[in-house]
Amino acid sequence: MTRRDEWMRAARAAFPHTLPVLTGFAFLGIAYGILMRAQGQGLALTACMSAIVFAGSMQYLAAPLFALGFAPLSAFLLTLMVNARHLFYGISMLDRLRGTGKWKNLLIFLMCDETFSLLLNAQPPRGVDRTRFMVCIAVMDYLYWVLASVAGSLLGAVLTLNVEGIDFVLTALFLVIFLNQWHGCAGRWPAAAGVLCSLLCLAAVGAEQFMLPAMAAILATLLIWQALRTRREAAQ
């Protein structure tokens, strides 16, 4: 089998996994392009943001910044805060990206929420190379996002189709992954801890600011849980 055949096989195996992301990104990407238009920003800036930054929620947050004064430091700090969850993705992926060789840096660069959640759980079918499978998923998701934001920028305000609520597709995607993990039993405790810590922090500080405290609470809970388990195992 030639290298090209192997890539084709990986792409065919990867594509069905990316369908929910395709739907979600088609909508969110187009909406991003339209939003940037509404803020007075053209195609070049929209395309650059999607292609170089590739972080949806940060791009939405940054959309109004370009109409304001030049403030690189606050843009830098805002990005660090909004994207701090990537640190979690990295830690979770340390071992899973082992053996991906020259593709590792590309996979890390393309690790958005959706790609992370797919790579975490999707298994390649037998006979399909795992690295190629992961690269195909990541690159497909990336292309969906870039192309959709370009399309949105071009469409501007012309879109008349009522697609209100289609963004729920991403919620449903994460929910299904959550349910699959729950079904697997192994991670019920941390999964429940993740939801509870997030809900508590959301209730305490509100939707705008709950991410950082929630991440701190999750870290603390998991580390304490680990320490207790280690001690119990040592005592036995």
Binding site: A55, F70, F88, G165, I166, L175, S198, M211
Partner: protein, 108 residues
């Protein structure tokens, strides 16, 4: 902002994003022994993060004002029920999303 300032802002946002994505791999390079707590953490954290992401997606839901989070609650239930019934990822996601779109466009 002028064109140059916009380009620099994109670069700054990109640099910060890259930093958050690569930092764990720089701090804990392959091959070097990692502390045991980190290995354990990297096993349990993925489960917790998906829980965080679900809450993150639903963070804008307001339970105190109409429609009291009903569309989201019903759609989440549809996803859960479909998934318990068929265990088919695309069916659960598609069904839940269609239900949510119908609810926000026609009912609420």
């Amino acid at each position: 902002m002028n064109g140059m300032e916009k380009a620099m802002t994109v670069a700054v946002i990109a640099a910060a994003t890259v930093l958050t994505r690569f930092l764990p791999f720089w701090i804990f390079p392959q091959g070097r022994r990692r502390p045991a707590w980190l290995t354990r953490l990297s096993e349990s954290l993925p489960y917790a993060v998906i829980g965080l992401l679900v809450v993150y997606c639903l963070r804008g839901v307001d339970l105190t004002a109409p429609p009291y989070g009903l569309p989201e609650g019903i759609a989440v239930a549809v996803v859960a029920l479909l998934h318990a019934w068929r265990h088919n990822t695309l069916l659960s996601i598609g069904g839940g999303t269609l239900a949510y779109m119908l609810l926000v466009q026609t009912v609420f």
